[in-house]
Amino acid sequence: MSDIRKDVPQGTLDLLILRLISREPMHGWGVMQTLKLLSGDVFHVTPGSLFPALQRLEENGWASAEWDTSENNRKAKYYAITKAGRKQLERAEEHWKAVNMAIIRVLEGA
């Protein structure tokens, strides 16, 4: 299994995080764990990639962040998707699906 544990494909981390926080606000560790869980332990995101990505979403106005108390009764910074973030998510999903379909068609046709 370890040989297929990969980093998130280039340029898709923002999309994945937006999708996760679109369901409910999440903190950094939560995002990382959910990503791992939902990908079947394939995507392992390091904090060195995760935090700059979260910062980027916030800077672009796609996510808003607030400090709150976590399930373990600790302070954590929760990220929630914004209206602009939802629009971006739609665009990015459409784009990704189109690219994905194209790649699959090429792979199957070859």
Partner: protein, 904 residues
């Protein structure tokens, strides 16, 4: 767009609360770590293991934070700010290094900013004190001659009226001419007036401090004429009293009402740096009245209308009108103009933006002078580069450590360049007060305003950046070119080997070359100044020149005669006066030689000498001389005698004195006893005079071809027929010492008499020929800058040679320890330094000669510097090189090798 705005908002928010952002980042990473540890503990790991594993997975709290910082919006700005702080800290820690660089570069920057201010004032500034100066045009008439090309002619009042009529719908025009007038304020003063048409201020749209323009009045009407005061006169004479408008002053003998005070910056249309600042503006009809009352004139007084030449005809284009339309309208008028000269191929009327012609004329001069501050700055930058290179050698270890722990080369280069930028900026901040002080002096010397406006400031800012790159890039690249491992293991002494200090040696060569080129340029400029000084006669600082303005006081010929005779007698009798004489001269001519101008209303005389074969005679330099004029101006009598008191009796002259040039060229060496026929202005009956003496010739510069002497004839004058005389008195000490004495004598004889010109010949020359005075003042300033540059270069060379030699102290110690003699070490250093000086000197001499040739090609007033001056420059530089190399070498060679080795 939204995304960009959001990023900007974020950026500013973070800058505003940078510390809280840092805390938040820290808390977030910590929260992540805690959550991971909690999860691991819940999964059954021990707290210690959980913490260790979580930390390993995280990859280090600081490292994660650094990654976040590096990737956030505006990270580079943060980096720059950080680097700036670091640069300030590092530079603060080495005050002597910082002081050396800042001191050196600030002198260069001060010279450069002053150079920009000068070029800006000469080439780009519009007429100050008027609204919308870009719409102003000047109208000129020009003649084409095969030899001289197009050159300016005269426009007379009648021409002005024709042009004004033609151009009325496109560009209303106004005209001015300058004159010296006697004004009673209440004390009598001779002031410089601009005689202007009634619409002058409206056309220029000039600004006023109080009151308004000259009011048009009916010719010969009862209402008094109105005049406008210049701001400086208002301040000086009326203490800036706003109630001055409406007050009556006397111009000549005519009551005139003050209608307004012009804005301080207004000095009429910009027509070049030689333009004299008017003290007041008077209407043409007032000048006409003054002219009508005086029977004869000093040159500078208002001329009667028929002789008046409009010095400047200026127009303002109406909205939407183009310069080409004005030119098309003005061109056909050429046939109706008064000034038609035989021998010219063509004439034309030109309409040009005001100041364009002046800029064309002065452009080459700017090109000559501007290289001087550029070279000064270049030398200062080379100094700074050398010092930075030396410092980089010392900082190699620090830079290697930073490279080793992961700082990119770009980041280090950026940081070193920022250090250079800090140095260049600090130098500029220091240079600004220096520049302002220097500009004040230069403005005084050049009689022109050189503001530090937005153009100068922008170019200066660009220069600061260029300088920082110029002196910072090479050291920065060099500092980061070595691998960290080599930098860490490297010893400082290795850098001083000839192969490895090539950059610095090249810089030394450049500096020597630039210094020598500058010295050559300075020598040339000084040689040009020297060539304009009179070759013979009383030193110009000792000769007092005082001309008077008695005709405007309506003195009768008898009164005038009494005045001049008493003046001459009383001045001559003073023990402080070596000799005194009077001449009806134009004051001093353009080159400081009395009565060197030929012909004219009150200048030279007209000579006919039959044996020479001249049927109609010729206009000749010289003129009337009274008292001991030759003694006063210091021209020795070579043969025969000077005038005696007897010669000066009677209404008609009987004898003449000629100069050596006249004796040689015209009289073929047999001067004494020859009879000449002379007449004033070539009119009236010729008077035969006998040549009784020959005086030494005077010389004057002529268009870059060295000095020449004109043939001159002098005849004695009985004081009565010639009004407007000039007193020449040579002082035993200085002209300044005579001034209060002469002023008192004049005041005692007649308190109403105003001085037209009063001062040493130096002063009179400066005010007499403002163009020449301007060029000379400029050349002096450039020469001073040249000397400053040499001092800078000497300083830089000394620092570099000291450093190179100091770096080699270990090598010297080993050599001495192995048995080398001190002399051999000194010889080796001397040879290496000498080689650098030789190469630099050769390049510099070549550049200097090239520069000289190009200057002479562009500016005919300059002459080549002699080989002696070049040799002197080279010797001075060689001496500096000698001291710079041998002092440190001798110091190194004197210390014991063991101590040297220990030190290094």
């Amino acid at each position: 767009m939204m995304r960009r705005l959001s990023r900007l908002r974020f950026l500013f928010g973070r800058w505003r609360r940078s510390s809280s952002h840092e805390r938040a980042l820290d808390a977030e990473v910590q929260a992540y770590l805690d959550a991971d540890i909690d999860a691991r503990v819940r999964a059954g790991e021990s707290v210690v293991d959980a913490r260790r594993q979580a930390l390993m997975d995280l990859g280090g709290i600081e490292q994660v934070k650094e990654v976040v910082r590096d990737r956030r919006a505006g990270a580079w700005v943060d980096g720059v700010v950080q680097d700036l702080r670091y640069a300030l800290r590092t530079l603060g820690k080495s005050p002597s290094f910082t002081g050396s660089v800042v001191g050196s570069v600030s002198i260069g920057m001060a010279a450069m900013i002053a150079g920009y201010a000068f070029a800006n004032a000469m080439l780009f500034l519009e007429t100050p004190g008027v609204r919308d100066p870009k719409r102003l045009v000047e109208i000129n008439v020009e003649f084409l001659e095969s030899r001289f090309g197009w050159h300016p002619g005269h426009l007379y009042p009648s021409d002005y009226r024709v042009l004004a009529d033609r151009l009325r719908d496109v560009a209303p025009i106004a005209a001015s001419v300058s004159a010296d007038v006697s004004v009673t304020l209440p004390a009598a003063r001779s002031l410089h007036a601009a005689v202007v048409t009634d619409n002058y201020f409206e056309v220029l749209d000039a600004r006023f401090v109080t009151g308004g323009p000259i009011r048009p009045g009916p010719d010969g009407g009862e209402a008094p004429d109105t005049v406008v005061l210049a701001h400086h006169l208002w301040k000086r004479e009326f203490g800036g009293d706003a109630a001055v408008v409406g007050r009556v002053i006397y111009v000549g003998d005519f009551p005139s009402q003050i209608s307004g005070v012009a804005a301080p910056e207004f000095r009429g249309p910009w027509t070049g740096p030689e333009m004299q600042r008017p003290d007041l503006w008077i209407p043409m009809r007032l000048a006409d009245r003054i002219a009508a009352t005086a029977s004869a004139w000093t040159v500078a007084a208002p001329s009667p209308p028929r002789e008046r030449q409009m010095e400047l005809v200026v127009g303002r284009l109406r909205p939407g009108a183009e310069i080409s339309q004005a030119e098309a309208l003005a061109a056909p008028v050429v046939g109706q103009l008064t000034d038609a000269r035989p021998g010219t191929l063509e004439r034309r009327v030109t309409v040009a933006h005001l100041g364009d012609q002046v800029r064309r004329w002065w452009g080459p001069l700017v090109m000559i002078v501007l290289p001087v501050p550029i070279l000064v700055l270049a030398i200062a930058c080379v100094n700074a580069a050398n010092l930075l290179l030396a410092r980089v050698t010392v900082r190699e270890r620090e830079i290697a450590v930073r490279l080793a722990i992961g700082a990119g080369r770009g980041r280090i280069v950026r940081q070193l360049l920022l250090e250079s930028l800090v140095l260049a900026s600090a130098s500029t901040v220091l240079a600004v007060p220096l520049t302002i002080a220097g500009l004040r002096l230069a403005e005084e010397a050049l009689s022109m305003s050189m503001p530090l406006d937005s153009v100068v400031i922008s170019v200066t800012v660009a220069t600061v950046v260029m300088c920082a790159i110029a002196f910072g890039l090479a050291p920065a690249l060099r500092a980061t070119s070595r691998s960290p491992a080599r930098g860490l293991s490297h010893s400082h002494a290795g850098d001083a080997t000839p192969q490895k200090s090539r950059v610095r040696r090249t810089l030394v060569v450049v500096q020597v070359a630039v210094s020598l080129a500058l010295l050559a340029l300075g020598s040339q400029l000084i040689a040009s100044i020297r060539s304009t000084e009179p070759a013979a006669g009383t030193p110009s600082g000792q000769l007092l020149v005082a001309s008077f303005d008695v005709r405007q006081l309506k003195m009768s010929p008898d009164q005038a005669q009494r005045f001049y005779a008493t003046l001459l007698a009383r001045v001559s009798a003073r023990p402080e006066v070596a000799a005194a004489g009077l001449a009806p001269a134009r004051g001093a001519s353009s080159h400081g030689l009395p009565f060197s101008f030929s012909g004219g209303r009150d200048g030279g005389i007209f000579v006919r000498y039959q044996p020479y074969g001249l049927r109609d005679g010729f206009a000749c330099s010289g003129g009337y001389a009274a008292g001991d004029l030759f003694g006063a101006i210091g021209l020795r009598v070579l043969a025969g005698r000077a005038f005696t008191a007897d010669d000066q009796q009677g209404a008609r002259p009987r004898v003449a004195v000629v100069n050596q040039t006249f004796a040689d060229r015209i009289l073929k060496g047999r001067a004494l006893g020859q009879i000449l026929e002379v007449t004033r202005d070539g009119t009236g009956a010729p008077v035969p005079v006998e040549v009784v003496g020959v005086i030494e010739p005077t010389y004057e510069p002529s268009g870059g071809h060295g000095s020449t002497s004109r043939p001159s004839v002098y005849i004695p004058v009985a004081l009565a027929p010639i009004p407007g005389l000039t007193l020449f008195a040579s002082s035993r000490t200085s002209a300044g010492a005579l001034m209060p004495i002469v002023r008192e004598i004049v005041h005692d004889i007649d308190a109403r008499v105003a001085f037209l010109q009063f001062g040493s010949l130096d002063d009179v020359m400066r005010s007499g020929d403002r163009k020449l005075a301007f060029v000379m003042a400029l050349f002096w300033l450039a020469a001073i800058l040249g000397v400053m540059a040499m001092a800078l270069a000497g300083w830089g060379l000394y620092a570099v040679m000291s450093h190179i030699v100091a770096m080699r102290s270990r090598e010297f110690a080993i050599r001495i320890a192995l048995g080398a003699e001190t002399r051999a070490i000194l010889g080796m250093v001397g040879w290496q330094a000498g080689l650098l000086a030789l190469v630099g000197g050769a390049i510099g001499t070549f550049a200097g000669v090239l520069l000289g040739v190009s200057i002479r090609a562009n500016w005919s007033g300059t002459v080549a510097a002699g080989a002696g001056a070049l040799l002197l420059s080279a010797s001075v530089l060689a001496a500096v090189m000698f001291v710079a190399s041998f002092v440190p070498a001798a110091r190194a060679a004197r210390v014991s090798p063991i101590e040297l080795l220990k030190e290094s």
